[in-house]
Symmetry: C2
Subunit: 412 residues, 2 copies
């Protein structure tokens, strides 16, 4: 049975640690469904877990956990096995593991200069991954065809009894379309509709902003795992943010939050592609680093070359890094004053810029951020690298299965 198509990002990132709340007057069947979801979500996020540990973690009793795990195993969503090394006397508790090999989602990303598609198994394991370059000027709409090709290639190798649960796409924002307009892809319903058409009607998938989705992945499985108040900053051709506060994505009224690359930080600065002037992107984007280092614009490898040159002492490269890191710290400081995160995670191309220029970033925070917010905030490089968006997209695709494990998915 195919899952219904959903649009946009869920507002709540559910806490995987506890059974979900139910409405008043929930039936036994509803409660059972929620508890099945809680068990499946736990092993999906934390990996193989013994029945004994599930019992204590989820606050349900032993026989309930046993019955739930057996039901999930019978449906082929988990395995239950005797641990190879029993550490205590008595009968060892069965270990429950997600069937990463059998239960999978499509995870896609439309990035600044490439298109990526992966099959990701329950538990977040990447089973297959393909990518093609995205030529300059190719709109997000034009990307639908090539992505479909990548997905069909991968699907042709999937076992007949595999369980497909749906798909999701992470779209880099502020992509420029053929008409010259900057579009915000992730929240653009026309794009989602086009993707739906390509992947056949009735196939469930979600479309969202790439920084939101990569931030979600870092929150669930990466540099900010266990942290509920974070700003994830993503550098690609532009700069955007995924903001998670109180464990929930701050998506905004129409899903357009986090367009931090278009905060004006330098009134009277350079013109930006958005039509404004002095946007943060114009000071910290890849193009700014290349320009200040005296390099040609547009080279992808150019960023790494400049950072390497800065590390080996080249004067212009060092000055360029200082300039970009200083402005990076400036904008981060403003964001910290606005949202008071516990952690700021630097991802995409900003991961390396931060790693190389962390001192300059911190200096700006010391200068600008109010002490009450400064003293607790942590700065971290992203942990999931270039796969964050795909891993996050898979989380969205798995969401429906985890909410109702016995009634989602379609045989592959």
């Amino acid at each position: 049975m195919a899952t219904p198509v959903r649009s946009g990002l869920p507002r709540a990132v559910r806490n995987p640690e506890f059974p979900l709340p139910s409405a008043p007057g929930a039936t036994q069947e509803e409660i059972r469904r929620q508890n099945l979801g809680a068990v499946l979500r736990h092993v999906h996020v934390h990996g193989a877990t013994s029945r004994a540990e599930l019992t204590s973690r989820l606050g349900l009793n032993r026989s309930t956990i046993g019955a739930l795990a057996a039901d999930l195993a019978a449906t082929g969503l988990v395995t239950e096995e005797t641990p190879t090394t029993a550490r205590r006397a008595g009968r060892p508790s069965l270990v429950v593991s997600p069937r990463s090999d059998r239960v999978y989602a499509h995870a896609l990303s439309i990035e600044g200069d490439r298109l990526r598609a992966a099959l990701i198994g329950l538990g977040g394991r990447i089973l297959d991954l393909r990518e093609v370059s995205r030529p300059g000027g190719m709109s997000a709409f034009d990307a639908v065809g090539p992505l479909g090709g990548l997905v069909r290639d991968m699907d042709s190798a999937v076992a007949a009894d595999a369980l497909f649960v749906g798909g999701a796409v992470a779209v880099a924002d502020t992509t420029r379309d053929r008409d010259g307009k900057i579009r915000i892809g992730g929240a653009d319903d026309a794009l989602r509709t086009a993707l739906e058409a390509e992947f056949a009607p009735g196939l469930g998938f979600v479309a969202g902003d790439l920084a939101d989705i990569a931030g979600l992945a870092e929150h669930l499985r990466g540099a900010a795992a266990g942290i509920n108040d974070l700003v994830y900053l993503h550098g690609d051709l532009g700069i955007s943010a995924g903001i998670i506060i109180g464990g929930r994505l701050v998506v905004g009224h129409r899903g357009h939050s986090g367009k931090v690359g278009h905060m004006v930080v330098n009134p009277g600065g350079l013109p930006c592609g958005c039509g404004s002037r002095g946007c943060w992107e114009t000071e910290i984007g890849d193009a700014a680093l290349l320009r200040h280092a005296g390099r040609e614009p547009g080279e992808r490898g150019g960023i790494l070359e400049v950072l390497d040159a800065a590390a080996s002492g080249e004067r212009s490269a060092r000055a360029a890094l200082q300039h970009v890191a200083d402005w990076l710290g400036f904008g981060v400081a403003n964001l910290v004053n606005v949202v008071n995160p516990d952690t700021v995670v630097f991802g995409g191309s900003l991961r390396r810029v931060y790693a190389a220029g962390a001192d300059a970033v911190r200096r700006r925070l010391d200068e600008i951020v109010l002490p009450a917010s400064r003293e607790h905030v942590q700065l971290r490089a992203a942990a999931l690298g270039r796969n964050a968006a795909l891993i996050g997209a898979a989380e969205l695709a798995f969401d429906q299965l985890l909410a109702d494990p016995l009634n989602a998915g379609a045989a592959g």
Copy 2:
């Protein structure tokens, strides 16, 4: 029975329209308690409501609503009366109203230049209100004593059978203490402890940031009623924001979100009291308007005088208003790009600045905000005036009663 002391703001502003979710395995008693809360919350927010309308609004059946309303009436939390004009044939549905006269909270505010205290009845009605000025240099801690005096005066006139449910205080942020340090009062536990001591141990109250609390009031009962994604901007001696996204306050890691007055908007601008330079406050605070209009700093009535002079065409006053409104729009535009609100509400002293300079504010938004966020955002003057912080504080104080109506409050 006194309510326990709570610290900080609740992360979730509950949606008053629906019964609260319950945990799996909720008992009948828990479900009943939640449904009692849903009925009481509805009449608290929306005022007198017939049983028939409660039935359709809350999705519970008629006999359940009847039993819940009768229980609430028996406890003295609501009244049930036959409507004076029956509009249809048949027995008219009883009208359920909150007992604003009997059930009340203490609502306090520590503002830039004054201290205010009110008794606020269920349903948000102000029953009594006192204020004294706050001398320059008086710390938030020093304010505890005078506030206690105001509260005792008001309490002495309360009827013996009144039901007191607790209190809350809204603290303007970035108040400067005797040691010269800027403190963030609302999230400062030492301040809350001092207030707890003054108001006697065992008395329940909450402390929070004034802009968060005033924003909550505008969200529940004011200019943004029914709107779930908003930025409330508050001008007092400083500038701060209450950010509500998806119906929830974005409070941040330690409750320090919304310190928007200390976003740096003008690198190389004027020094700010926080130690940084070019903060938004230095361009749009009351002091900036007075300075640009050639007035003496520090006069409270001075703002209104300048706005009046601008309205009657005085050149320097008009230029000052233009300057401040232009920078106001600049910062708002950045915030709209970051959080994509449906509505921005201008409160405190910014209410009048916005009303007088709306064109300049809008021009900046047109210039800076990405079209996808610009086309839907609404700008509004605050509706609750100077009472917003008190009304919002009362909402926090009523929260526990609304969660468990039959087990909160103490006879006055």
